[in-house]
């Protein structure tokens, strides 16, 4: 058995060196080998993670659509990608050579309905397959790196023993991960695949933040066991974000400039509450004064701070306050109940800001060593992008068609990456069941009556 193994091995190496396999398709043979290897390991992995989990119809269609859009962006058309949901509470995702992608229901629950985050994790796993991280790690482990470098095209000759050895190595490597550099590479390529497929590339960052938060509170966060430090990964992903914004273009369309001026005149600072409840009376110290029109009472938010500027988000979900904190500008975002949702700081001074039309980003005017620059701050991720492209920028206005900023006498326009919502081509109607109506009951106790809280049963 062993002599047969070595004879096959030597034969394959000789074939490689002599170029006897030249008429064969190198890519095709390599993909077959990867597929065989992955298919051999997949069943034990599925078993280890509680078997396959069948998602409810609507969720399944949505996840499959996201996955199909990502797989369509794959550069390796020789790989057939398949997605399996694993029945495990643990939040994790894996890939095996040959295009086998796995995600646990625990991670799907954590992601919820955020398509950008789902695309980020699936894109990351597809990137591992694209870059052959699994196969390369096995070759390194088995000391076959020479073969890996030459090309794996003759590996179909090495069936049997070598495949078993590779399968065993794959299982071991899977526990340790593909390696630090491979993870960084998969992060970057995964983000690119997601962006090409029409998902917001910031999803990779917000997912990482969510995972970090969950890791601190839950035990079932095993995804970081095999990955490099999250802070470093986040930093690199944030650096990549600028690549997905369009290069700032000099504005020559004067109708757009006209709209810019009108926009600033109609509501200079976004001071009108879009939901028409609060009237903004003034900013300064202490805080921002608002009149609640429902009861006519005056409320003060950020009462211990000096507020320089205030603006409602376009849908009225948040009120952004530019606060003078220790002589530096900070942006405090309040929800409609007057609670601080987030504080944006760490950029040095902030001179001014404006909301994106969708209310998911803010453009900040930030002084730097070379003058003012425009920085886009994401609302649902701790991420910033310098969008002025090295130019001095003095003023920013965000319209539907893009973010405009002024540099000297010229106006420039840049656009964030465009996200395309998921649309299932062959949807099926939802099947609803009536929710039980919960009515409190009146219970007589002596001469008094007591209202009892109904028992909540979740269908």
């Amino acid at each position: 058995m062993r002599s047969q193994y070595w004879s096959r091995y030597i034969c394959a190496v000789l074939l490689l060196l002599l170029g006897a396999a030249a008429p064969c398709s190198a890519a095709g043979l390599s993909a077959t080998f990867e597929r065989t290897l992955g298919a051999g390991t997949a069943p034990s992995l599925v078993k280890e993670y509680g078997g396959e989990y069948i998602l409810p119809i609507q969720e399944r269609l949505r996840v499959e659509e996201v996955f199909a859009r990502l797989a369509a962006q794959s550069e390796r058309q020789d790989v057939q990608y398949t997605l399996t949901v694993l029945n495990s509470r643990e939040a994790n995702a894996f890939s095996l050579p040959g295009g086998f992608i796995f995600i646990t229901r625990g991670l799907l629950n954590l992601i919820g309905s955020d398509e950008a985050q789902l695309a980020a994790v699936l894109g990351h796993e597809i990137a591992h397959v694209e870059k052959k991280h699994g196969v390369n790690a096995i070759f390194r482990q088995l000391g076959l790196s020479v073969l890996a470098e030459v090309g794996a095209f003759a590996l179909d000759f090495l069936s049997g023993d070598l495949l078993r050895a590779a399968g065993l190595a794959l299982t071991q490597i899977l526990q340790a991960g593909w390696g630090r550099e491979a993870e960084f590479e998969a992060d970057a390529l995964g983000q690119e695949i997601a962006a090409r497929a029409g998902f917001d590339p910031v999803g990779a960052i917000s997912l990482l933040e969510k995972l970090i938060q969950a890791e601190n509170s839950e035990e079932s966060m095993h995804i970081f066991r095999t990955h490099p430090a999250s802070g470093e990964r986040k930093k690199r992903l944030e650096e990549n974000l600028a690549e997905y914004w369009s290069e700032p273009d000099l504005v020559k369309d004067f109708s757009a400039l006209e709209r810019l001026k009108q926009g600033r005149i109609s509501d200079p600072g976004g001071r009108t509450d879009p939901r028409a409840r609060y009237v903004l009376e003034g900013v300064g110290h202490p805080g921002v004064k608002l009149v609640d029109q429902q009861n006519g009472e005056q409320v003060v938010w950020a009462e211990n701070a000096f507020v320089k500027e205030a603006a409602w988000s376009p849908d009225g979900t948040y009120l952004a306050l530019l606060v003078d904190a220790e002589s530096l500008g900070e942006l405090w975002l309040f929800d409609r109940w007057g609670r601080v949702f987030r504080k944006i700081s760490g950029l040095g001074e902030i001179n001014g800001f404006c909301w994106s039309p969708q209310g998911d980003m803010l453009a900040l005017e930030v002084p730097g060593s070379g003058g003012l620059r425009i920085v886009a701050a994401y609302l649902y991720a701790e991420a910033f992008v310098d969008v002025s492209g090295g130019r001095q920028a003095e003023e920013a206005v965000w319209l539907e068609e893009g973010l405009y900023f002024r540099s000297g006498a010229d106006w420039y326009r840049t656009e964030p990456p465009q996200a395309v919502p998921v649309r299932v081509a062959e949807p099926v109607p939802v099947v609803l069941q009536r929710k039980r109506i919960l009515t409190p009951t009146l219970v007589k106790e002596g001469n008094t009556f007591r209202l009892t809280r109904p028992e909540l049963t979740v269908p």
Binding site: I54, A425, P427, V428, P429, V430, L432, Q433, P459
Partner: protein
């Protein structure tokens, strides 16, 4: 006496007519796609309804009526839409103990051709439910569904309440 007799007969006729009349209201889709007449016993559920889904609760414990807009679909016909939907309903992850009660049949809703069927399944609490459903692919390729569900088999066998609603259905495009 004759005069009184005549008046009594008219009064009786009015009373009987009133007893036989089901009070209904005209419901117009907030998005302006359709309009129909629905019996007063159905209560609109604002909390469960969305831009794409309109939900009514009936006076029975589990009586449910809902209309869903599915956006542009790639189905070429209502038949294709129905076949694909039923295939997923009966597949793993679909509806528990799914069984067809009434086969697919052509139906006309407000002048548009659709496909209707009825089936039964078990909900999360183990209750058996019956559902009558209509599938439509509207001009422009929009998928649309009308469903009537109840814990009584009449929902599938004899969906008179739904037939009344379909009779008054008008498309507003």
């Amino acid at each position: 006496m004759k005069q009184f007799g005549g008046a009594f007969a008219i009064l009786l006729a009015v009373v009987f007519c009133a007893a036989g009349t089901v009070h209904a209201f005209v419901f117009t889709d907030p998005a302006g796609l359709y309009s129909t007449q629905i019996a007063d016993s159905w209560v609109y559920q604002a909390h469960h309804s969305t831009e794409h889904l309109v939900v009514f609760y009936g006076d029975e414990d589990s009586a449910l009526l809902y209309f869903e807009r599915l956006g542009t679909v790639s189905y070429l016909s209502a038949w294709e839409f129905a076949h694909r939907s039923l295939e997923l309903y009966r597949s793993p992850g679909g509806l528990e103990k799914f069984e067809m009660v009434r086969d697919l049949a052509e139906v006309e809703v407000g002048g548009e051709a659709g496909v209707s069927c009825a089936y039964t399944y078990q909900d999360g609490q183990g209750n058996q439910l019956w559902e009558y459903r209509v599938f439509l692919v509207l001009p422009g390729g929009e998928g649309f569904s009308i469903a009537f569900s109840d814990s009584r088999p009449e929902a599938a066998d004899d969906p008179r309440q739904l037939e009344e609603i379909l009779l008054h259905w008008r498309w507003l495009f």
